[in-house]
């Protein structure tokens, strides 16, 4: 059974149809990249999978480990192992970064009937992962994302992902706004997490990120549909020819 199976997914926001029949199958252990021009529906797909309620699903089916993902609330999807690294992480004043993350991890542990982490278990792990992502320790107790630079916010997303160990991690344009060093660090965080039990859906505009996170499959989303699928070489071809090429020569390869 696939970890994630999307069948003919349609979704709209305020009456405008954005996703017009997306189908995609992701197995555990795989890294899939979704590329595509602005407004093609990449972020919408990410938000729908994370169950943002602004997006109305008008058709299709999504199964996560065989369970109906579209029936889940955002927190249920999270507890079932879906993690979204946000393109624009929100700031929440007065909530300490570490306190927030421990609360989140414990909410998920509680849902799964596991023992909750106390501060003594949590902090050493948190410190270690911060070090791995070359984050300043001062970010530990600062308010969640408040006053973080763009790069710090993105690294904080990856920090959360690493700590939460999701089954399906969706990275929504995590590379945008990152300099090359930060990109390398973020990619290391992701690569260290690759395992046979986990899948990644990496949404990006540019080939650049895929130099660091090598995908198994690349899909091109155009106007709410997957126009083209292929191996890693597809990303390079896109870089060379631009997205215009996919629209003229659309041919869907088996994923």
């Amino acid at each position: 059974m696939a970890l994630l199976e999307i069948q003919d997914l349609h979704a709209s926001v305020e009456g405008n149809e954005i996703l017009k029949g997306v189908s995609l199958k992701i197995n555990a252990g795989e890294v899939h990249a979704i590329m595509g021009p602005n407004g093609s529906g990449k972020s919408t797909l990410a938000q729908v999978l994370a169950r943002h309620e602004t997006y109305e699903v008008t058709g299709g089916k999504v199964l996560l480990d065989g369970k109906d993902l579209l029936e889940m609330k955002p927190e249920e999807a999270a507890c079932e192992g879906v993690f979204l690294a946000f393109q624009y992480p929100v700031e929440i004043p007065g909530i300490g970064n570490a306190y927030f993350l421990r609360s989140a991890i414990n909410a998920i542990k509680k849902y799964r009937g596991q023992d909750e982490l106390d501060a003594m278990d949590f902090l050493p792990m948190f410190r270690e992962k911060m070090k791995l992502l070359e984050m300043d320790e001062s970010l530990m107790n600062r308010s969640l994302n408040e006053g973080f630079s763009g790069g710090e916010k993105k690294r904080n997303e990856i920090l959360q992902m690493v700590m939460m160990e999701p089954k399906l991690a969706i990275l929504d344009e995590t590379d945008s706004g990152l300099d090359i060093d930060a990109l390398r660090i973020v990619a290391k965080g992701v690569n260290d997490m690759r395992s046979k039990d986990r899948a990644f859906l990496v949404i990006t505009h540019y080939q650049r990120l895929l130099d660091y996170i090598a995908p198994d499959f690349v899909h091109v989303l155009v106007d709410g549909k997957i126009a083209l699928s292929g191996g890693p070489e597809l990303a390079l071809e896109l870089e060379e020819k631009g997205y215009g090429w996919t629209e003229s020569d659309a041919q869907v390869l088996p994923a």
């Binding site: 994370a50 169950r51 943002h52 309620e53 602004t54 609330k73 955002p74 927190e75 999807a77 999270a78 507890c79 993690f83 979204l84 946000f86 992480p89 929100v90 929440i92 004043p93 007065g94 909530i95 927030f100 993350l101 609360s103 989140a104 991890i105 909410a107 998920i108 849902y111 308010s143 969640l144 959360q160 939460m164």
Partner: protein
């Protein structure tokens, strides 16, 4: 319409967990307000002549105000006219307790406080907090009096202070909030029945938190307590009040007066967790909380700090302020006010700078949910002689849902050009995106709201004594229960 907005609107489903009624025999005076009522109250309390005279003067002044229709109408709240003749002004548990002996208290009353989590049995108190319990119109018990007396700290009911320490009462009563101050203060001065009295002698740092717990129980009564705290030179005291009331579908009036006096180098920290019954979700019932609280930093280098967490009451009308008379004195006001369902709050502070180099800090956090209306009203006045005065005001509002309101009315009056004033204000809404972010990380919608609200209030909670900060956080959570999900 997305379900998370619907969920936020669901805020109305709030449970008030302190709404039970205790069955006890009451000794009450007949309804109505006239000289006879005042004489009855004063006689029941066995007061000296000076108190009766003081009350009668206040009553005459109140009658004058009433004839002039001088009930304050400027606050941003609406309610039908109050019939002051339809209120019982004195109600006491019939078994008059001999203060100091828990055995003589009606066991039903002891049970009430146990249920509220306030054991009056000194053995059961966990940490060093002395409690004065006021049930309807009278104080029923004060704990740790003996221990405090060893250090010269007087902590007792107001009635007892009038009898045991008349010279202190006479010297300070009405010096900060005179009987003529305003309509409700005049009413309070005429009819007030009990409250707490604290005197901390020179150089003494009060070794424990002092706390008063107010409970309205009887129907159709008003509660009019009066608290007077005097911190003598170089002393320190931290005082906390809490309050609850049963669920009733008629409104009840609570008009209290609090006076604080800090002499040279003295400090008073006054914290309130106000949780009177707020009324039901349609706005039936609930307490009208019309309160006058003021502190006077009379001495040099003195400091008065108000911290309030206001989650209850149908209507809150309250402006704890500081008169900064002594040079270098400091006034602080930290406030969290939550209005949910049909609650209305018009609250803030007054900082009057008279002495040189006086400083004041105001941090107000207003949270509105449901159809709640929350108003911050604050006055900062720098008098001519207040050279080098400074004020910092921060005033933030948080809206939950789209049917509530937040309003800000700052009044600033500066008569000395050396003054430095800073004012910051913000209004924000708990955004769908903030909620979604937290929920995507696995937190339930309700916990997410509570987390955002607690984060918003953090700078104020930090000012509360530790254990009360925890209580306040929980209370906020409960008051927002049903807000989502």
């Amino acid at each position: 319409m997305s379900s998370s907005v619907d969920a936020i609107r669901g805020l109305a489903e709030q449970d008030y967990k302190w709404g039970f009624v205790t069955e006890i025999d009451e000794d009450r005076v007949p309804k109505g307000l006239n000289e006879e009522t005042i004489r009855l109250i004063s006689a029941r309390k066995g007061e000296p002549e000076f108190m009766l005279e003081w009350r009668l003067n206040a009553l005459r002044h109140w009658f004058k105000l009433e004839r002039e229709h001088a009930e304050p109408k400027w606050a941003n709240v609406t309610f039908p006219p109050i019939n002051y003749q339809d209120i019982v002004y004195y109600s006491a548990p019939k078994q008059r307790p001999v203060i100091d002996s828990l055995e003589s208290i009606d066991p039903e009353i002891l049970k009430t406080y146990e249920k509220l989590g306030i054991p009056l049995d000194e053995q059961k108190r966990l940490s060093g907090v002395a409690v004065d319990a006021v049930f309807d119109s009278v104080s029923v018990a004060t704990t740790f009096k003996g221990k405090l007396a060893e250090m010269g700290v007087i902590f007792c009911s107001f009635s007892e202070a009038v009898k045991e320490h008349p010279e202190l009462v006479k010297k300070y009563l009405g010096t900060v909030v005179p009987t003529t101050d305003n309509f409700y203060a005049a009413l309070n001065a005429a009819v007030f029945t009990d409250g707490s009295f604290v005197y901390v002698p020179k150089g003494v740092r009060c070794p424990m938190e002092l706390s008063t717990y107010f409970r309205i129980n009887a129907a159709e009564t008003g509660q009019f307590e009066r608290t007077l705290i005097i911190a003598d030179e170089g002393s320190y005291v931290s005082y906390l009040e809490g309050c609850t009331a049963p669920i009733r579908d008629t409104n009840q009036l609570h008009a209290a007066v609090v006076e604080l006096i800090a002499l040279d180098n003295a400090q008073i920290k006054y914290s309130t967790v106000q949780n009177w019954y707020p009324g039901d979700k349609e706005g039936r019932g609930g307490i009208y909380n019309f309160v006058t609280k003021r502190g006077k930093c009379q001495g040099v280098n003195s400091k008065i700090s108000w911290t309030q967490v206001e989650t209850g009451s149908a209507i809150t009308w309250k402006y704890p302020g500081c008169i900064l008379q002594g040079d270098n004195s400091v006034g602080e006001f930290y406030s969290v006010a939550l209005t949910n369902n049909r609650q209305q709050a018009d609250t803030g502070t007054k900082m009057i700078h008279i002495g040189k180099n006086t400083r004041s800090t105001i941090v107000s956090k207003g949270i509105s949910a449901g159809y709640g209306q929350n108003t911050y009203r604050g006055q900062v006045k720098i008098m001519k002689g207040a050279t080098g005065a400074r004020n910092y005001t921060q005033c933030d509002s948080l809206l939950i849902g789209d049917r509530c309101g937040a309003h800000t009315f700052p009044y600033i009056e500066v008569r000395n050009s050396s003054a430095r004033m800073e004012h910051e204000a913000s209004t924000s809404k708990i955004g769908e995106n903030q909620l979604f972010y937290l929920r995507q990380r696995g937190l339930k919608a309700e916990d997410a709201v509570s987390m955002i609200v607690n984060g918003f209030c953090k700078t104020v909670f930090r000012e509360l004594p530790m254990e009360f900060a925890v209580e306040a956080q929980k209370l906020l959570g409960v008051s927002l229960e049903g807000s989502v999900g």
